[in-house]
């Protein structure tokens, strides 16, 4: 019998604030991976040209795509890492149950998604300035409208959240049984390599189109929201089957 009763909300809040401080390494790796992404972006992401009778114009394109992709990878891996034993046991320093532990993890992942998405998007401005200073060919200015900004922020954060949710689910599966640590990468890369030219292509492309080619932001938000909710609740259900500690 305990002397004090603490509400679930209070426990989650405490665990969440604790995690923000304890998992601070995650933010260091974010800085590291984004700086790496910025460096890699210097090569440009593409080139295109146009010509008329008298002109040949070629344009080298640069973008924050690589930084965004690296950030997705970062979210995925960070989410896996916080499901590992070393991190999971932290929660037992508090009065806890699986539910509060999962909820605080989700809040933490939501937070890092916001931070990751925002910084990935902002990194494009560092690149613009570096390109202007170091670039050798003339710089074509493209204005960013406020609406594009808002769209970009929402979409990038949701992408990062999706990858964090996938990572969390994968991490939970692996904690459930170690065989998934081998099985999941094999399945993934198997599909990636074999699926490039066989019947799996259709499935692969459907999945790709479902997320990456959705052109309506509202639908995209619903899709990602539902997917993330499914993945998180799936993880929560799975982790309930685990032994205590």
């Amino acid at each position: 019998m305990s002397l004090s009763r603490i509400s679930l909300q209070e426990v989650v809040k405490r665990q969440y604030t604790y995690k923000l401080r304890a998992y601070i390494q995650v933010f260091m790796s974010l800085v590291f991976i984004q700086v790496l992404g910025i460096l890699f972006s210097f090569n440009g992401v593409g080139m295109m040209g146009t010509s008329s009778n008298t002109f040949d114009i070629s344009v080298h394109f640069y973008s924050a795509d690589i930084v965004v992709i690296f950030t997705l990878l970062w979210a995925f891996i960070s989410a896996i890492l916080i499901t590992t034993q070393a991190y999971r046991n932290d929660d037992f320093a508090f009065i806890t149950n699986r539910l509060s532990s999962n909820l605080s993890n989700m809040l933490f992942l939501l937070t890092i998604s916001l931070v990751g998405g925002l910084t990935a998007l902002l990194s494009s401005h560092i690149m613009r300035i570096l390109m202007f200073v170091l670039g050798q060919s003339e710089y074509l200015y493209t204005p960013t409208e406020v609406s594009e900004w808002i769209i970009g922020l929402i979409a990038t954060v949701l992408y990062v959240l999706l990858f964090a949710a996938i990572g969390y689910f994968v991490g939970t599966l692996v904690q459930l049984h170690k065989i998934f640590a081998v099985l999941l990468p094999v399945i993934f890369f198997g599909i990636l390599i074999l699926g490039a030219g066989t019947m799996n292509e259709a499935i692969f492309r459907n999945v790709f189109e479902f997320i990456f080619e959705e052109s309506s932001l509202a639908l995209f938000m619903v899709k990602i929201g539902v997917l993330a909710a499914l993945l998180f609740s799936g993880s929560a259900l799975l982790s309930n089957r685990m032994e205590v500690r």
Binding site: I24, Q25, V26, F27, M28, S29, V31, F32, V45, G46, M48, T50, S51, S52, N53, T54, F55, D56, I57, S58, V59, H60, F61, Y62, S63, A64, D65, L73, W74, S78, L81, A86, Y87, T119, A120, L122, S124, H125, I126, R128, F132, E138, Y139, L140, Y141, T142, E148, I151, G152, A155, T156, L192, I193, A196, G197, E213, S215, S216, L217, F220
Partner: protein, 234 residues
């Protein structure tokens, strides 16, 4: 087999980055940076990002090198010049389109037309027959401006080479001007919803119209190959 190579490279890169991330994030006994150091590092990174975000709209927009121009206006100019040429009153158009004129004395019955450096001529050729056989050929060259986005690149344009050698009118395309630019694209999560991304979505290029207007004696016969299109003005 070769198609596997890019996939393998991507896989290797992903593995390398993953292990880097794991090592950075993993809590080990020897911590690379302490908590407060990481906090400062992160705050520092964030401030650099914010400062750059504030600065980037202030970057010059190409007006230093190029004059400002409205591409839609260039298109209207082009139509205006073309119409004037078809109707035969090219001499009444704005003098800004005029590039140069060449006059030749020519009394032969026939004149061949040839392009020296390519099959096609970059200009459209209009021919006006004079009412008399005065033994003179007048070649007038007109050009409208070219623009990329709001930059006028007309100043870079060169005139046509026009010459008569024996009984052939030798036309020479000006050398193609190569321009190289770098441009920043929005990241894919933005382009996915705005539908932008390609050169044509974000850029507005207009290559100007070039017209060679020939005034020839009444009965001179012109011989041209099929690649060179002549339009006779009534």
């Amino acid at each position: 087999m070769l198609s596997f190579v890019p996939i393998v490279i991507v896989v290797i890169m992903v593995i390398a980055i993953t292990s880097l991330l794991v090592n950075l994030t993993k809590r080990s006994s020897k911590v690379l940076f302490s908590g407060s150091r990481i906090r400062w590092m992160f705050v520092g990174y964030l401030s650099i990002l914010l400062v750059c975000t504030g600065l980037s709209p202030m970057l010059p927009k190409g007006e230093i090198t190029y004059q400002k121009v409205d591409v839609n206006q260039l298109e209207r100019d082009s139509n205006e010049l073309y119409e004037a040429a078809i109707q035969g009153n090219i001499e009444n158009v704005d003098s800004k389109y005029f590039v140069k004129t060449r006059n030749f004395d020519y009394t032969e019955k026939q004149l061949n037309i040839a392009v020296v450096n390519e099959d096609f001529l970059s200009a459209s050729i209009f021919v006006e027959r004079k009412t008399t056989n005065d033994g003179k050929i007048e070649a007038l060259h007109y050009q409208t401006g070219s623009g990329l986005n709001e930059m006028s690149i007309s100043d870079l344009m060169q005139p046509l080479g026009i010459n008569i050698d024996k009984n052939t009118l030798m036309l020479e395309n000006p050398e193609k001007i190569k321009l190289e630019f770098s441009q920043f694209q929005q990241a894919f999560p933005i382009n996915q919803f705005t539908g932008k991304g390609d050169f044509s979505d974000t850029n507005n290029f207009y290559g100007g119209t070039s017209i060679l207007y020939l005034k020839i004696p009444k009965d001179l016969e012109l011989n041209n190959t099929y690649e060179i299109d002549l339009q006779y003005v009534e």
